[in-house]
Symmetry: C2
Subunit: 214 residues, 2 copies
DNA sequence: GGGCAAAAGTATACCGAGTGCAAAAATAGC
DNA sequence: GCTATTTTTGCACTCGGTATACTTTTGCCC
């Protein structure tokens, strides 16, 4: 996106990278992540195994490199918010927009491709582990953003960050689970919004009397 | 502990298991997790590689099997609380007791062995990933306990669980980090208690006006 | 357009984690 | 002591990932 054409060499590298990734996803979706070897992926992409590993450091990266920028998403949202506004509100509104736009990260996208990809990831423990790793990264980034833009003390920022990330993740997982069970995204939408509002209210007001809502 | 002696066969298996684990930990502590191969561990324990894998399904399990029961700890605490009391308070008091007793899980144990083990784990990405996995298990168990013993609705239970687990983990990590930096546990104790109280207050009262305390 | 240095790709052999299989050893119960 | 069962072992194998040494492709300068 940044510099669309930057010499033949660069363009060819991009194409090779895309070819490998596409071949990998296609094979993984068809046969399952575990049952496809990197050698098979390399063969399908017409590339040597060594070259594959020059583009993607691990087998898991063939899948998760597409999701990598979500790691900094919450932090970016907090940094980009209107000055003087509540960081938590900014994250909430961003999440609600994700729901409206059926952003896959919100768990509310029911395109067959997305559903299959989600299922594929949750069927492979090593991929789940990578997702958990993303969570840890998101917590770190968000904590930093809170420290720097609100002037939250270090520990408080870290605590707020882990709570916010954990809650967002739980909401998305819940949506994804329902959609995987056959519920259409449009049918789930209102409930998802209500659940998100409830969850963010819990974050704002605490766990003290949680039985009131929902 | 349960059935201390249950036939020679059983006792010997226990001994073998302990021998393997001890040899593994000793080697890992001395040379680092990554730089010791399972073959070396097997040799040190005077056991074939095949036998080692009969006792421990993966290399990581050689380390983390000792921490496995912490996965259900928060859930057990919630289930075992005085009827009618607040689950969050139960978890808080349990965590504070962990600090007083210098329970390694609280991050406040500065015995050299514990410090080295902590460092070893954080130096090995695959071990860190396993710890994150424990977190996920703890969340699931705690959510279940909250649903069943308080009558919290499913989503609220899950949201509370992920927040509580995330906060406990963050507190422990913060303590461990400070101790790894040379601070003695006794010197850290009061600060750790204050931080824990602050964190649980945040959980109870929400992130709304967090700048007041600490 | 030809030549050349650097970058990219390849073949091959290798390491370590983990598994399948069948033979060998240890143990329990008689 | 004998036999059935469990445990252990050796070996060969798969798969993810890496080191090395080599060939091909590309950018570029003349």
């Amino acid at each position: 996106m940044e510099d669309a054409k930057a010499g033949l060499r660069e363009r060819k590298k991009r194409r090779t990278r895309a070819t490998i990734s596409d071949a990998a996803i296609a094979l993984f979706l068809e046969h399952g992540f575990q049952r496809v070897s990197v050698a098979q992926v390399a063969e399908a992409a017409e590339v040597s195994k060594r070259t594959l590993f020059a583009y993607f450091p691990t087998k898991e990266d063939l899948v998760v490199h597409r999701l990598a920028d979500h790691e900094t998403e919450a932090a970016r949202v907090v940094r980009a918010r209107e000055p003087g506004t509540d960081p938590l509100a900014a994250v909430r509104e961003h999440f609600l927009r994700g729901l409206r736009e059926r952003d896959p990260i919100s768990g509310l996208n029911d395109h067959p491709q997305v559903l299959r990809l989600t299922r594929m990831i949750y069927d492979a423990p090593s991929l789940v582990a990578r997702m958990e790793g993303f969570k840890a990264g998101a917590e770190r980034e968000l904590a930093l953003a809170l420290e720097e833009t609100a002037d939250t003390p270090e520990l408080t920022a870290r605590l707020a960050a882990v709570q916010i990330v954990a809650v967002q993740w739980a909401l998305a997982q819940d949506n994804a689970r329902r959609l995987a069970g056959g519920e259409p995204a449009d049918a789930r939408f209102e409930g998802a919004v209500a659940d998100a509002r409830h969850a963010f209210a819990l974050l704002e007001n605490g766990l003290r009397q949680p039985a009131a809502q929902r």
